[in-house]
Symmetry: C2
Subunit: 458 residues, 2 copies
Amino acid sequence: MNKICILLLLVVFQGFAQTDDEKQMKAIYNAALTQGKAYDWLNYLSNQIGGRLSGSVQAQQAVDYAKAQMDSLGLDRVWLQPVMVPKWVRGTPEFAYIETSPGVTSNVSICALGGSIATSGRGVKANVIEVNGIEELKKLGKEKISGKIVFFNRPMDASQISTFKAYSGCVDQRYSGAAEAGKYEALGVIVRSMNLRQDDYPHTGAMSYGDIAVQERVPAAAISTNGADLLSATLKLNPDTQLFFKLNCKQLDDVKSYNVIGEIKGSTHPEEIMVVGGHLDSWDLGDGSHDDGAGCVQSMEVLRLLKVTGYKPKRTIRVVLFMNEENGLRGGKKYAEIAKSKNENHVFALESDSGGFTPRGFSFDCTEANLARAQSWKSLFEPYLIHLFVKGGSGADIGPLKNDGIVLAGLRPDSQRYFDHHHSENDRFEHVNKRELELGAATMASLVYLFDTYGVIR
Amino acid sequence: MNKICILLLLVVFQGFAQTDDEKQMKAIYNAALTQGKAYDWLNYLSNQIGGRLSGSVQAQQAVDYAKAQMDSLGLDRVWLQPVMVPKWVRGTPEFAYIETSPGVTSNVSICALGGSIATSGRGVKANVIEVNGIEELKKLGKEKISGKIVFFNRPMDASQISTFKAYSGCVDQRYSGAAEAGKYEALGVIVRSMNLRQDDYPHTGAMSYGDIAVQERVPAAAISTNGADLLSATLKLNPDTQLFFKLNCKQLDDVKSYNVIGEIKGSTHPEEIMVVGGHLDSWDLGDGSHDDGAGCVQSMEVLRLLKVTGYKPKRTIRVVLFMNEENGLRGGKKYAEIAKSKNENHVFALESDSGGFTPRGFSFDCTEANLARAQSWKSLFEPYLIHLFVKGGSGADIGPLKNDGIVLAGLRPDSQRYFDHHHSENDRFEHVNKRELELGAATMASLVYLFDTYGVIR
């Protein structure tokens, strides 16, 4: 056969292959949009169970529910993977007010940051020093900080197109603000909520005291964006303004929890494992619909969609619902540890942990060759308006699986509304659109299908 | 100069031009996201004025408000363009129930379609015949239809990725269902709401009796998707089920209203006019935030963004807020009629009438050369995640401006949530995200900037 013939055959063959891919993807999207299960599952997780903080009764209910649903899908294997998780509890609701002069007060909306200690005794009342970040805190030093409440008020940068970029530009205040302020003998820390919207919801989230001794730790809370603006404006009018706040949270001993795992065994390369997952725990203020109930039900839906469309994967496709992403990442670390100890060959992992919004594409943490392979499928995704195939982060839970050969990927939904909800009471089922959620699941299933069909370049 | 030199210079020149474009677009997006006015304007239109049905007090308030805001922007000229519009009023709330046997009833949520006649006397009560569209109605014929209420229940096709495609696949039932059913002596028409979601909101919208004599017209209402499913299930259990409904709407005489227009005169080609617009009227059930308050405030914002970024347009940029898109298109027709009578040279028109959601791109109704020109700017839009530059419809209001040379364009936002809100009580300000709205305005301003800078190919 001459070269031209071979070339011609290749073109014809690829033509057919393309058509098969198009058909399979169309079947996946159709099934997701017309007979999807993700939305019903999320309804249960959000409205029948609710917020699923690590170590809570709700987290355990979610484990039981997810396992039961996976059992009903006819997968080849479903199991629980034990993992010890931290147990932090919020206690009775937090309370705060601004006092401009004795007895003249305005309540503001706050919540303890995850991992904070409680305020001692009846609460903290002190003068407030507003800073725009940790750098400014350091410049002010002990003299200006000691005995005061530090108010971190650098807002998210609204000019960023990706709200995640705006988030990473100021989340250091939340994560490390208390540890830093403690070094200068502050009495407490109040952090502007990581929210691009003006509203009354305080947004919690993880913080760390680093290696600071227990007796030197200061309590830390988030204040709503409206509350932050009120406090800032009040301080400008009257620098002697005081803030009172009381937190009733507590760090208890670690407790046993689980990653929930299910898999379809691969037909020709069962030893090659492809993971798709989200995290089953959430913060306690809302019902955790976007963060990350959405990612969990989408991941379960990926396996269901492959099954109902009659696709038999060559590789083992595994759904993993990770426990404790929010305040410890113990589930992600445990999963990778066990995988390593068993010498499992993970070739691919995809995480959905950016909300159940209209999917725009993926970011990839992998070799250039595999990125190019993914980008070669762009035209297949075009009818579904999936256009982002970029290098970037994947997801916290699958991060510990990283090695030179693996393809790590993160679903990239539209990010504009995410921080309206993230870690707050406003993360609720009613803010998830059924179709947007389903399109995300179908998009994930399509990428899994393609990498299973064409393989990962090692 | 040899060819290579010319090529090199061209590359260098285009390099510089590109940089200027990038800077101007960055300035536009920054201004929209950090000091935008669109959201405040929409807040007023939606929450201080509300639904703006043609001929209503609210429509007039919106005209006055929009003109006052345009006056405050320092445009070169702001004016009202009179236009006579139909005045249809809903009257007291509609009412409907399903009666399975005498006295055993379930209320269902309905609303009159825009343009419907009222039910006569105390309302209509009759047996119901469910059809999946006009074709089935025609097949059944007079014998099966006469004396009954026709229930059009073909749902939107959830497997469509564009919800507008799903809409156009069944909106004939709403627009022409009553005219067709009237021919077979139906007593009334009930149409499943154009909504992809299961909920209790009936969605109104325009319908037409065509040339049917007044005395032969039958009343027509939309039923919520939940109501439609209940009615359908009830009919399956008991085909003798009756439906009662009462509409109190009325068509009054035409009244005077206005298109609201403002412009910045072009510096070098003032005779070339570029229009950007939306429609100021809305249906009466919600506050018309997405349809089309969003398009109006985005269009006003386009001119403000060009001004605050210091851009001096070469061509005349005109914002037009059209009156009566929903039930007559009188504003769009009048604008084109006057433009023609004055021999105005319109080279470009852009409409935003698909909701204030995250913008994805544009569809263009223009020559291949101009489409290619727009597509050549794709990389400029990439940082803003704008990726759709396709051939397609533009907008109803700018349609009458069509000629061989003009570029007509429609903003294409994400469509997934649009029909959750469209024409129903659920089209409310709280469902508009500030950033999504602002990104739309900046995207429109960028396209206007580029076509003004590089011109339209005639």
